[in-house]
């Protein structure tokens, strides 16, 4: 699964996610990616989120929307909101990761797997690519 989140100079956020799914999937299985609120969500009042991982868990928790809701209603920082939701995800047995960004330009990522290919860039010139 691949994805991107962005904040533009006007302070708007957006998210996109795309996937081939799981190798050997059957019976028309569909994961979290195309389910708005599970694997993908964006709201200028909170943040943008794109997820990757064991989709069934992300669907049950509504991970992307849940993180955005915590940011919007609880005024939590991106990392805090993601960590809270991921603690629930991990407790249920789910694995994966999320990338996030907020209208003020903050961004974050969180994952509970050994690896998540990821990268970021910002207007201040910061640029980072990481795998583990």
């Amino acid at each position: 699964t691949v994805g991107a989140v962005a904040t533009d100079a006007q302070g708007h956020v957006a998210a996109a996610t795309s996937t081939g799914g799981l190798t050997g999937k059957r019976w028309g299985r569909i994961g979290d990616t195309p389910l708005i609120g599970a694997g993908t969500y964006a709201d200028d009042r909170a943040c943008a989120v794109s997820a990757t991982g064991a989709g069934e868990y992300f669907i049950r928790i509504g991970v992307a929307h849940e993180i955005a809701a915590r940011v919007r209603l609880q005024k939590e920082a991106l990392e805090q909101a993601a960590a809270t939701v991921f603690s629930e995800l991990t407790e249920m047995g789910g694995v994966g990761g999320v990338i996030l960004c907020a209208p003020d330009g903050q961004h974050a990522w969180l994952f509970n797997t050994p690896a998540m290919y990821r990268g970021s860039a910002s207007a201040d010139g910061a640029r980072r690519i990481a795998i583990y």
Binding site: V2, A14, T19, G20, T33, Y117, S120
Partner: protein
């Protein structure tokens, strides 16, 4: 103004502890190209929506990532792709499931968002909508790669459980 972009690019190996030097270089090059595509838009004052679509399209076209070209195979040996996009300014959203012929599924998701009253289209209907929207079509074989086929055969030979994510290269 302040802008930022973050990406993830799963190659289906989240459980692996190590990559070879060659695999590492390929992954990093793909991520760098995706960042470049999004940054080029944001630097010019472009929209976050355009930036995320551009970044994801690069990763969809890169056969090393599990999306678009290089997608994993279903049990029946098909490539069926899902994608979604959402605009935080309006909370407009579009998504597709089981897309099989649109070169860039994320662009099809955006068309669902902008050119239909719906949010999620699936299967044959999504493919037909894509044609009506004049999006770039490709033969399904374009998405297939030998490595992903090998992974499917490995999975079938191991007869692992239906949700063995370590094996399923998702």
């Amino acid at each position: 103004g302040t802008w930022t972009l973050a990406i993830h690019g799963g190659a289906g190996s989240m459980s692996r502890q190590n990559l070879s030097a060659a695999e590492d270089a390929i992954a990093r090059a793909g991520l760098a190209a995706a960042l470049d595509a999004g940054v080029a838009i944001l630097e010019q004052g472009g929209s976050a929506l355009d930036a995320v679509e551009a970044a994801v399209k690069v990763l969809e076209d890169d056969p090393h990532f599990n999306a678009g070209r290089g997608s994993v195979f279903t049990y029946e040996g098909r490539n069926e792709m899902d994608a979604a996009i959402m605009d935080g300014a309006t909370r407009a959203a579009g998504s597709v499931a089981q897309s099989t012929r649109t070169r860039n599924p994320v662009t099809l998701a955006r068309a669902v968002m902008t050119a239909s009253p719906h949010v999620l289209l699936s299967g044959e209907g999504a493919d037909a909508f894509s044609v009506e929207q004049h999006l770039e079509q490709v033969d399904p074989a374009w998405f297939a790669t030998p490595e992903r086929l090998r992974q499917l055969e490995e999975l079938k030979n191991r007869r692992s459980g239906h949700f063995d994510i370590d094996m399923k290269y998702g």
